[in-house]
Amino acid sequence: MVDAVAAFVAWLGASVVVLADGRRGLALGAAISAAGMAVLALDVAGPVAAGSIALGGVVAATGRLRSGRAGWHVMPAGSTPRLVLCIAAALFALWIAAALTTGPGVSLRFTAMVVIGLSGARVLGADEAPALFSATGLLALAIALAAGTGQPPAAPWPFLAAAIIAGGVSWITPRIVRAA
């Protein structure tokens, strides 16, 4: 039951990142999604991995609050396709995780698939650095979480690396350099 709630929370956070354009919305989405993934990581890779994901999410959310469009800007005008995408992605991932694939860890499979998918979709659809980097951070965390679907217990290294990337990328301020 806890895993199912954590998976829902992770999807909700990733959906907020897809639906938000403001810095507060993006930070909230990153924090919520990382919290859900941290709970799932506790099961598959232990407390170090879970702590890494949680810390990476906190640093990413804090860094996101520094720059970007002020305010929340969750579901601005014209974001209906994004909302449809979030719901459709969840249904599709749930179908694959629960009906097509077998074995334990339905919540883990659902979360890994839906967060990777939504992050990738956000990268394809966004033009502004804050949204791109928020999606990048989530993608890194989800890639590490997907490592937990393997047969042997997952090592904490991918989680640590993903946390460093997720935390670091949110503090980057891109600069434009003109060619010489």
């Binding site: 097509l100 694939t101 077998t102 074995g103 499979r109 890994a112 698939m113 990777i116 998918g117 992050s119 990738g120 990268v123 394809l124 966004a126 033009d127 502004e128 650095a129 791109l132 980097f133 999606a135 990048t136 993608l139 890194a140 989800a142 890639i143 590490a144 997907a146 490592a147 679907t149 393997g150 047969q151 090592a155 290294w157 991918p158 690396a161 993903a162 990337i165 990328v169 980057i172 891109p174 600069r175 434009i176 350099v177 003109r178 060619a179 010489a180």
Partner: protein
């Protein structure tokens, strides 16, 4: 680390050293050494990390770093290719690991092939190019430095992740994608208006042969791929670098050296590209002979584009002339005696 990846990292480092020595401007040299060195180190890290997930995370970090070092294309355009690659490769690895019907394995193969294409920057995910962009921040860095190592790692990991049926589908998709890239790249190098775009398309066409070689499961196919990658990293990339000034100045030349360069770019004897093509045709003949006919027809399409690119080098002088002579000599040596290349890759 797998030997092929080690060899490709060494080749990328050699290409970087060449670029630093033969780059036309001092400022550009410093930039090449710093940022290009970081790229080569990143490629080495992709090959060195013990698990595929860590390799994906290194690729992600490298993509972010490459997108923020500047350039004329927008951040979103620079970031999309590597990030989409990581997402697709991640999904591919995920589908390969989960238990379920055979279709999951096929999905895994699709994800790995599509992710590889997006990471390298070949069809169906060509990275947009700006002719005025510095080399280190242009998509050519992915095509010629990071891409070869990434391809070696993905193909090697796919062999361990996928079961036999899906591995066959993976190889077939690589061959199909390779043929599309051969046709599209060679036609693009011939017909596109911009010289910079023509160079990019020529990389894509070469990559088509690499993908075909990687998809052919016989040993000669793998050998062809490694020799072709050598031809990209230490043949086409240095020549592209040396052509940039002439391309910017729009100066063309019809001197004999242009023909020699065109021959090297077209993969004619005795250059490395010829050995690669020969190995590829032999591999295709072993597996399914009609494929060899299709490949041979595709290889003829290199000629018009290569003649055009040979002329785009302008009239080589001084450092540029020495660089071209060195590249041609190295490619002749590798074409006449590719055995050390193959032995280093344990092929």
């Amino acid at each position: 680390m797998q030997p092929e990846a080690v060899e490709l990292v060494v080749l990328a480092a050699a290409a970087l050293a060449f670029a630093v020595v033969f780059s036309p401007a001092a400022a550009s040299r410093r930039e090449l050494l710093g940022k290009g060195g970081a790229g080569v180190l990143g490629a080495a890290a992709i090959a060195a990390v013990p698990t595929f997930d860590l390799a994906l995370l290194v690729l992600l970090a490298l993509g972010v770093l490459h997108s923020v070092i500047g350039g004329k294309r927008s951040l979103a355009i620079r970031l999309r290719g590597p990030l989409v690659a990581v997402a697709l490769l991640g999904l591919g690895a995920f589908f390969a690991r989960v238990q379920g019907p055979d279709a999951m394995e096929r999905f895994a193969a699709v994800g790995l092939v599509a992710g590889l294409a997006a990471g390298v920057g070949v069809l169906p995910y060509l990275h947009p190019i700006d002719p005025d962009e510095p080399l280190v921040s242009s998509p050519v860095a992915w095509l010629a430095v990071v891409g070869p190592v990434l391809a070696a790692v993905v193909v090697q990991r796919a062999q361990s992740l996928l079961l036999v049926d899906a591995a066959g589908a993976f190889g077939a998709m690589l061959i199909g994608l390779g043929l599309i890239n051969v046709a599209w790249g060679s036609a693009g190098a011939w017909l596109t208006e911009s010289e910079a775009a023509a160079w990019r398309y020529s990389f894509v066409a070469d990559w088509g042969l690499v993908l075909c070689g990687m998809g052919l499961i016989v040993a000669d196919g793998q050998r062809a791929a490694i020799v072709m990658l050598f031809s990209i990293v230490l043949g086409r990339l240095p020549l592209y670098l040396l052509s940039r000034t002439a391309v910017r100045d729009k100066s063309v030349s019809g001197r004999p050296v242009s023909l020699v360069v065109a021959a090297a770019l077209a993969g004619s004897a005795p250059f490395a590209g010829f050995a690669a093509r020969l190995l590829l045709l032999r591999a295709a003949t072993q597996l399914f002979w009609p494929l060899a006919i299709v490949l041979a027809a595709g290889m003829l399409m290199w000629l018009p584009g290569s003649l055009r690119l040979g002329r785009s080098l302008g009239l080589p002088k001084g450092r540029q002339a020495v660089g071209i002579a060195l590249v041609l000599a190295v490619n002749v040596a590798a074409g006449l005696y590719p055995l050390p290349l193959l032995l280093a890759a344990h092929l």
